[in-house]
Amino acid sequence: MSENTLLRLEDLKLHFQTTKGVVQAVDGVNFSLGYNEAVVVLGESGCGKSSLAKAILRLLPRNVASYSGKVFLNGTDIMAYDDEEFRRNVRWVMMSLVPQAAMNSLNPVLKVGDQVAEPLMTHHGIKKEEALQTARTMFQHVGVPEAFLDRYAFELSGGMRQRVAIAMALVTSPALVVLDEPTSALDVLTQANIFNVLKRLKHELETSFILITHDIATSSELADRVAVMYAGQIVEVGDAKSFFTAPLHPYSKKLMASVPRLRGDQEPEFITGSPPSLLNLPTGCRFRDRCPAAFGRCSEEPPVTVIDQRLVKCWLFN
């Protein structure tokens, strides 16, 4: 494994049991992330992005049908840890999560300062005074006025609440923060401010980020690398510059073309149809029935091809 790999996923799977059958939400995901690197995971809703976040952080719902694969953190396979070891050494310690809609799930009856300090007290046994002091520093990092430590969530705007949620994920100084749709519900100015905060944190605290989103334009601000997820799998991974300039996979191309432009006359296109049900996945390429380039071979599962350090799972490149 390369020296500067912080996290590496190998064939990670997370399936859920439902009354209708097994939902293959994460179905064999491979990718890696370096130190102080930001990887953006793009994809339409329902393709398994939030489930991937849960699988990485082992935040599992009750109805798990199967959970397998390897997750290497600093070279150690943390899938081999039992739950107690995972809690003690990994979650909130080495990596933390800002869940989807985090800003709406802050505790309404606790002061936001106390909420940010809490992970330090519960996971590191730090005394309240000291924890609050660290929370204060975190507030500065994310750009929330210190006076807000004593306020309640309902007294804060959406953008401020989202910053508090980010502060909470950062307070234990994890090496990796996973952010699930951190700005999707916010307006452009608030989004831009949050992204500035993330860029600064990456620089100041050398944190690595996995940023999960369907908001392509905003994510391009922070991304070092991009991974595209479709129907439970990663179909393309590559450096951000090459990806945004010329995406390879037909799905990635369609996604890029669907983004409306601020300038120019290009009309946004849409992708006909919707992602397949994760309950009964088609054989062969999962994008086949929506793919404009599909041909005979696509009825077999496409292999992953490496082109200039970019990975793409499509027959066109084989």
Binding site: L189, T190, A217, F244, T245, R263, P268
Partner: protein
Amino acid sequence: MASSENNILLKVEDLKMHFPIYKGLIRRQVGAVHAVDGISFDVMRGETLGLVGESGCGKSTTGRAILQLYKPTAGKIVFDGTNLVSLKSEDMRLMRRKMQMIFQDPYASLNPRMTVGEIVGEPLLVHNIASGREVDEQVAHLLEIVKLNPSFSTRYPHEFSGGQRQRIGIARSLALHPSFIVCDEPISALDVSIQAQVVNLLEELQEQFNLTYLFIAHDLSMVRHISNRIAVMYLGVIVELADRDTLYEKPLHPYSQALLSAVPIPDPFAESKHKRTILQGDVPSPVNPPSGCRFRTRCPIAESVCAESRPEFRELNPGHFVACHFADRFL
């Protein structure tokens, strides 16, 4: 200018919507949220007027006040020559057929206990337009118009994706053959690829049925693709209004400039890097808005006069309105 007056479908004049704030046991009024605080604009027949601005600036309140879902604190709303504010409730009920709304949240805005057929057909029953089999036929037709399978009518909203639910909402809003629709962030809760689908559908319907839209959004890129003209709102007032290309290419108000510069571009490496001036701080409270110009607490070029007098909403170029003491600088 009789002909251009004729082209105006909706005229909003000095509209104000203040929500009282009460305190204490005897519910004494202690103040008011100045959600909309004196706005004027026209909407032309067949056009789409975009209304953009940060969260909480009063966009939805404007839309709701126009449809008389709120009783405005002051101002006139003249629709097709009739001032809605002074209408009696029965007359307003008839008028409401012509004015509909599509809501932001396709998950919350459809009653989960009603079938799709009941949801889409309800306005027909409420307004006594059809009954029995006629309703079923019209529902099937409406579902076809929004490109949904008519057989969906017996199913429930939770069985559908966000994009499909939004189409159900659109089908319902078309039931009474309206001429005007307020679209309140109809795509904000959807994925990019589905957003384009819904916007394309709205454009097709507009052409087919000669609809006029007030399109509320905070996404300036998508709004550009659907709007003919765009109004920018800040803290209860409209600060700039212009045709689409003028606004995007030559915004005159410092707030519009900041808003546009904050829009991210999807391929920053391909397009030339544009300079981003990102406004700091939050929108001040609409309970005690700043004196003079509302934007002065965040404006990069504010001067002392900005605290003293409220800038007039003036027409600096034909059809280009702006409320800033110093907008001439950017001409």
